[in-house]
Amino acid sequence: MRERLTTIRHLRLVSANLVIVLTAIVSGCASHPQSQQPGVAAEEDFHDPLENVNRKIFDFNQVVDRHVLVPAAKAYRAALPERVRDSVHDFLNNLQEPLIFANATLQGRFDYARDSAVRFVLNSTVGVGGLVDVVGRWGGIPYRENDLGITFGVWGIPEGPYLVIPVLGPSDPRDISGLAIEAFGDPWNRIVSGQPWNYYWIPYVRGAVSGIDQRSRYLETLADIERTSLDYYATIRSLYRQRRAALVRGEHGNLPPNPGFTQNVPAAPASSVASTRSPDVVSALQDGAGVSGQ
């Protein structure tokens, strides 16, 4: 579910240049639309006009996942004790905070921006350069993922058609654009790969470690979902869409390394429930209520 997306998110650094090339390829595919199943697809609209291409890329990604990511994640888990892996995770999260702060500010979510700033300052100092998430663990302010794709969503830019990007996985034009821009805008990558260091390889290592870290935290969950799904592709597509919609609505939260549950923002007042839910969840609520009375 989201872990896959997070994996993707953190692989961004490896793929800074790759993304542009691949987006171009995928857009190229878009200009030769696949013929859809007539009549049927129009009624249950998945916003997935490129489904045939997407499914092929998805299958390819599954092969990469099975033969590269999963073995690497398992080895990582076996080689290092949990405490060390938690520190790596906290350190990588801390590196994200400047971009999270920027995005929360751009979204007008100043409470999240403040939380991010507090986390970054204290975790970088008291938390030994971010190795220990002291603020999350003892300060009660959890890590809240955020990115430019979410910012675009808050600004009202539609997600567009569903896309599966090679290696990176589920996305859409809005999210992949945000990803590409952030890859260039990331302050750490600019610093280490610029003058005077020119360590151009560091962002790639960071991306690889992030991907392995994320994948290692969701080995069981993803295996479970794949094993029990009737249509793994459709399940992932739905989970990605709903999760991104929730993040755009401001339902941020960190995802603990267990069956996909997380802490979340405080309950909204009753009157705003309907308006803060995405249209499909609202219809779910209404449909669910509608059928129950019978």
Partner: protein, 202 residues
């Protein structure tokens, strides 16, 4: 004497019909979730045999969830296209399937407790927010439950985890399966049966 016995029998019978109709806790959505959640975490934990866990989950699901309503929702527009026999078949295999999927995902839990954090009105029902308190010091997991009134109590119509509706996810997946099978509901029913049989949900 006979008359008195008859009266007593009639009274007992009447009592028997009237009393169990309205379970006490069921009137309060929050209480429904508190008791169900804690029971589920207790009986579905890590040390339970997988087959037993699936059977227990199936029972809890049938007792506490609005199964016919959820089945209709997840089948979407295809519910109307299905024959009554197919609808019944679908409900049966869907129940097996849900037990298989979610019993597995709960297998990781061990010693956690569930705490209701709030209740909000939802269209024709209530949305109950809860936290699952972990034993390992990790942040609590947040789960929302959509409850709808039914036969004097409440039944669960959806579970929303981190903004992700389980019912919407299921509906999307099922619609995809049906469409890829040329719009035939029977294809989905067969796939559900095969999945539950091959992975041993019975």
């Amino acid at each position: 004497m006979k008359r008195i016995l008859f009266l007593i029998a009639a009274f007992v019978l009447a009592l028997g019909i009237l009393l169990p109709a309205r379970p006490v806790a069921a009137a309060d959505p929050a209480a429904v979730i508190t008791s169900l959640g804690n029971e589920a975490l207790k009986v579905l934990g890590k040390n339970v045999d997988p087959d037993v866990r699936v059977a227990r989950f199936r029972q809890l699901f049938q007792q506490n969830f609005n199964v016919p309503g959820i089945a209709r929702f997840v089948l979407g527009r295809y519910w109307r296209l299905a024959t009554p026999t197919q609808q019944q078949e679908f409900i049966r295999f869907f129940t097996d399937y849900i037990a298989l999927v979610y019993a597995n995902q709960l297998a990781e839990y061990n010693g956690e407790t569930l705490r209701v954090t709030g209740t909000r009105p939802a269209p024709d029902g209530a949305l109950v927010s809860s936290e699952i308190i972990r034993t390992d010091g990790k942040p609590p997991a947040r789960v929302d439950w959509l409850l709808t009134p039914q036969s004097g109590g409440y039944k669960i119509s959806d579970v929303i985890v981190e903004g992700i509706s389980m019912a919407v996810t299921q509906r999307s997946e099922f619609a995809s399966v049906i469409q890829r099978d040329g719009g035939q509901v029977q294809g989905l029913i067969t796939a559900l049966r095969q999945k539950t049989e091959s992975t041993g949900a019975h």
